[in-house]
């Protein structure tokens, strides 16, 4: 059987999408598969959205090396792909003498990992950096290379750029197994047929271990660790501009208080092992733990500013470190597993490493002459100058029609998101591309308007419009329930 593709990548999260985009530089036929209705719908969409400096991981580990290497790539990557990124620096706050010793240990580890600019601040300097911090703070580790990013935009930006450069994307495609010929994988079996390929890359986050087993690799397990979060109104970000970590514990970096790239404030996460990889339920105990933890760092938080809570799952593996390998058998397979924090920061470096591994394993990487590394996001109206907005409105009057009051999103942006290289097809997809519905009214104002706009742009019945694919429809047939 002849291979249709050179590479099939399973999983269009930040890691899979960045690999697709990196491989798109070469003369290869590539397919990127994801079981969800959009890219970045797994671990990518729900995490703390921090670009870590790299002082956490054990020196010599893949986590340490790829964190620091990935961190350095963000300016260029985010510039090329039009992803919001702010290298604003991060703080780890020490509340007592033990914590101060921990800071020293973190600093030494950071230096060993090659993290530049680490500095231990005294209490006064810490409070100057972060005036909202608990005044009982004793000091902090300042990491100037830490920053904030939009993780979904990383996956989307990379995947869109990959698609622009010839990569095929198959969403809502579930991998059910593999076809082998002797020792080599030759096909990826899905609910939409079998795709034949020379190489398979598993970048499936929480489901990496299941796919590894399907490919015949045992011994590696993922046990998801849930993290719950609160999102606070922008109002809070006016006084809380910093990225604040508590001192880490053995299992987690702790419950932090951070501004987001979109100027909300995020609290969390806690860390609870769960068995179900689909369990994204928020629990009363979990968010309470988050709130109590956050108050330790910033005592002035006000519950009335909470606009949303959500949960994400960390793809914690049974090894301490990232698994990035080409196993001896089956051949033709690259495995990426256990890519938990700092996986987002490391992702650009992981993508480079995967390319190198494939080259060494014999895949010919000939540069593609027409590769275009640049991709533009949907215009971010709220960030444009008046003159820039005028130009947009002149080109398309729909940019003057604001449909989301809280985030200032226009009908023009909704339409643009529906016609990008990877179109928004659901409300959540639209929300992640434009910020629509993510402000304080949480969609109460925009939903009735957006249903009609999306139905028109996507050419579907309003009844078919969903929150996140599948059965998540907003409307029922009025014939069946009055009208």
């Amino acid at each position: 059987m002849n291979a249709t593709y050179d590479v099939v990548i399973i999983g269009a999260g930040a890691v899979g999408s960045l690999i697709a985009r990196e491989l798109a530089r070469y003369q290869l036929s590539i397919l990127l598969i994801d079981k969800n209705s959009d890219v970045g719908e797994g671990t990518t969409k729900a995490n703390t959205a921090i670009v870590h400096a790299g002082y956490d991981a054990k020196p010599g580990s893949a986590k340490a090396r790829l964190n620091v290497a990935g961190n350095r790539m963000f300016e260029i990557l985010c510039g090329e792909l039009d992803i919001e990124f702010d290298r604003c620096g991060t703080l780890v706050a020490a509340m007592d003498a033990d914590d101060l010793r921990t800071l020293e240990a973190l600093r030494e580890r950071g230096i060993a990992n090659g993290v530049p600019g680490l500095e231990i601040l005294d209490a006064a300097a810490t409070l100057a950096h972060a005036p909202a911090l608990n005044p009982a703070v004793r000091g902090a580790l300042w990491a100037p290379t830490g920053g904030l990013v939009d993780p979904f935009q990383m996956a989307l930006g990379a995947a869109e750029n990959a698609v622009m450069n010839g990569v095929e994307l198959a969403l809502e495609t579930l991998v059910t197994g593999f076809e082998r010929q002797c020792k080599r994988l030759q096909g990826v079996v899905t609910d939409r047929g079998t795709f034949y390929t020379r190489w398979v890359i598993i970048a499936a986050g929480l489901w990496a271990d299941d796919l590894m087993r399907k490919a015949g690799l045992t011994g590696f397990n993922i046990r998801p660790r849930k993290g719950e979060y609160y999102v606070l109104d922008r109002r809070t970000a006016e006084v809380m501009r910093s990225v604040l970590f508590p001192c880490p514990t053995p299992v987690s970096k702790g419950i932090m208080v951070t501004r987001t790239i979109h100027d909300n404030v995020l609290l969390g996460p806690n860390a609870v092992h769960v068995d179900d990889k689909n369990d994204l339920d928020v629990t009363a105990e979990g968010v309470d733990e988050v709130w109590q933890g956050a108050l330790k760092l910033v005592p002035g938080l006000d519950r009335r500013d909470v606009i949303r809570s959500f949960a994400g799952l960390r793809a914690s593996g049974s090894t301490d470190d990232f698994v990035i390998s080409i196993p001896d058998e089956p051949q033709g397979l690259v495995v990426l597993a256990g890519i938990e924090s700092p996986g987002l920061t490391a992702a650009p470096a992981i993508a480079l490493q995967v390319c190198e591994m494939l080259r060494e394993a014999g895949l010919r990487l000939d540069e593609k002459p027409g590769f275009n590394p640049l991709r533009r996001a949907v215009p971010r109206l709220a960030q444009l100058s008046l003159a820039e907005r005028r130009v947009l409105i002149e080109q398309d009057p729909r940019y003057g029609h604001i449909v989301c009051r809280c985030e200032g999103v226009s009908e023009g942006q909704v339409a643009a998101a529906c016609h990008g290289p990877i179109p928004a097809r659901t409300y959540d997809g639209l929300k992640r591309r434009t910020r629509l519905g993510s402000g304080r009214c949480q969609g109460a104002f925009d939903l009735p308007l957006v249903i009609d706009i999306m139905a028109r742009e996507l050419g579907i019945s309003p009844l078919e419009f969903t929150a996140k694919g599948g059965a998540s429809r907003y409307l029922v047939n009025p014939e069946e329930a009055g009208g």
Partner: protein
């Protein structure tokens, strides 16, 4: 470059905006503009197809669309100008306004601004309900718009959390539309909306109402499949042993309204944490000179007629400000102390000038008192106004209108306070 100028610019074309604009014209302001984000004026009224509006203002029982059309006609007769489908993006304390609409960005300036931005519904995030995040959870007002304006049906089997008026009205509306309302849960021991709505929307249709009960969990990954209801103790803490699950496809939230203050904040208008709205003085002027506030963005009213009445005063005062006919405010501003069982008072600030001849105090109580009460306004401990009411409920705003001789008593006082307590026989 000089910007297009209006004497009075009203932001928001709902009941407050239409009344304020009409009255500003009647008071003599030349050019009055209403900026409205919707395709037509009326604010929330076009989707409030039920009756119960206009009893106080017009002496007749009107539906929302009928009430809106009367005010729209008035505004048109008064030659108020409208800028529809236009969203105000920014305002500042110098009363410059940036508007996005009709394929164009407009900048304009105003002699006086009236903020009539209304209110919004408290969203789910503020409620802290555990569980999944499926489709099928929406505010009662969003459902009302979908059903009454867009002609869509958001579900078949509903649970409603909160017994606010919109929630009760939607319980009836959905029942009449052929859907099932399986339960209405209210965390308080009493209904938070009007009693007439309890009768004609809930009791009339045998909708199961559970007070001291809340929704503790939502179940369903893609579309809502069920909710968990739990009784609560007097501190609103769920009693886990009472938890029960109700299969449903939609959860409507009717858990309170919050003044829409985004633009007010931009202009650095002072806010009242108790109302969540703008702080205003006796003329409904905010802390920013020339910026007035009307209707639900000051504090959330329970009747549109009361919104209209307050907005008329705001429009009148805005016109007087522009025309230079305003009473001097060169007196020391006074505040009103919130005494026994008073949740908040509007206005928060009083300039008790000798010329002041109109003073309306609106207030809400903290806890219900189901027996005759005395509402009293004290000046240095002396009772200036005393009103006997048959009961006091947080859901029903209390209004005190002071006569000129009563206002005169306040002017000499150093300390003002309001109380509401059981009538002593």
């Amino acid at each position: 470059m000089s910007l297009p100028h209006w004497d009075v610019v009203v932001i928001g074309g709902g009941p407050a905006g239409m009344a304020a604009a009409s009255e500003a014209r009647a008071e003599g302001a030349e050019r009055v503009l209403v900026i409205e984000r919707n395709t037509e004026a009326g604010g929330i009224l076009p989707q409030c197809v039920h009756n119960g509006f206009g009893l106080r203002v017009f002496g007749s029982d009107l539906t929302g669309p009928e009430y809106a059309s009367r005010w729209l006609r008035r505004a048109e007769m008064a030659q108020v100008e409208f800028m529809l489908q236009s969203m105000v993006l920014e305002i500042n304390a110098d009363r410059r306004v940036l508007v996005s609409g009709a394929g164009k960005l407009h900048e304009l300036s105003a002699g006086a601004l009236v903020l009539a931005t209304g209110c919004r519904e408290r969203p789910r995030g503020a409620l802290n309900i555990a569980g999944s995040r499926p489709a099928g959870i929406l505010t009662a007002g969003t459902a009302q718009r979908l059903v009454n304006i867009e002609g869509y049906m958001p579900g078949k089997r509903y649970v409603i959390l909160g017994s606010g008026d919109i929630g009760m009205i939607m319980a009836r509306r959905l029942t009449l539309a052929g859907a099932q309302v399986l339960a209405m849960a209210e965390v308080l021991p009493y209904v938070s909306g009007l009693r007439r709505n309890l009768v004609q929307c809930v009791h009339d249709f045998d909708i199961p109402l559970h007070t001291s009960t809340t929704v503790t969990r939502t179940i369903g990954r893609e579309r809502l499949e069920a909710v968990e209801l739990c009784a609560v103790d007097q501190h609103w803490q769920p009693l886990c042993e009472t938890a029960r699950t109700i299969a449903c496809d939609t959860l409507l939230l009717s858990v309170g309204l919050l003044p829409e203050i985004e633009l007010a904040r931009m202009a650095h208008v002072g806010l009242d944490p108790l109302t969540g709205g703008a702080r205003v003085d006796e003329s409904l002027q905010t802390s920013v000179p020339g910026v007035f506030a009307a209707g639900n963005m000051v504090h959330v009213y329970d009747l549109v007629d009361a919104v209209t009445e307050s907005a008329l005063r705001a429009g009148r005062q805005a016109a007087r400000y522009v025309l230079g006919n305003r009473l001097t405010t060169a007196v020391t501003p006074q505040t009103i102390e919130l005494g026994v069982n008073i949740h908040h008072v509007v206005p928060q600030v009083l300039h008790l000038t000798p010329e002041l001849d109109e003073l309306v105090i609106e207030l809400r109580v903290r806890s219900p008192i189901e027996q005759p009460v005395r509402v009293e306004f004290l000046a240095d401990g002396e009772r200036v106004v005393s009103q006997r009411l048959r009961y006091a409920r947080p859901s029903e705003m209390i209004v005190l209108t002071l006569k000129p001789d009563e206002i005169a008593c306040l002017q000499r006082a150093e300390h003002l306070s309001v109380n509401c307590r059981p009538w002593e026989s």
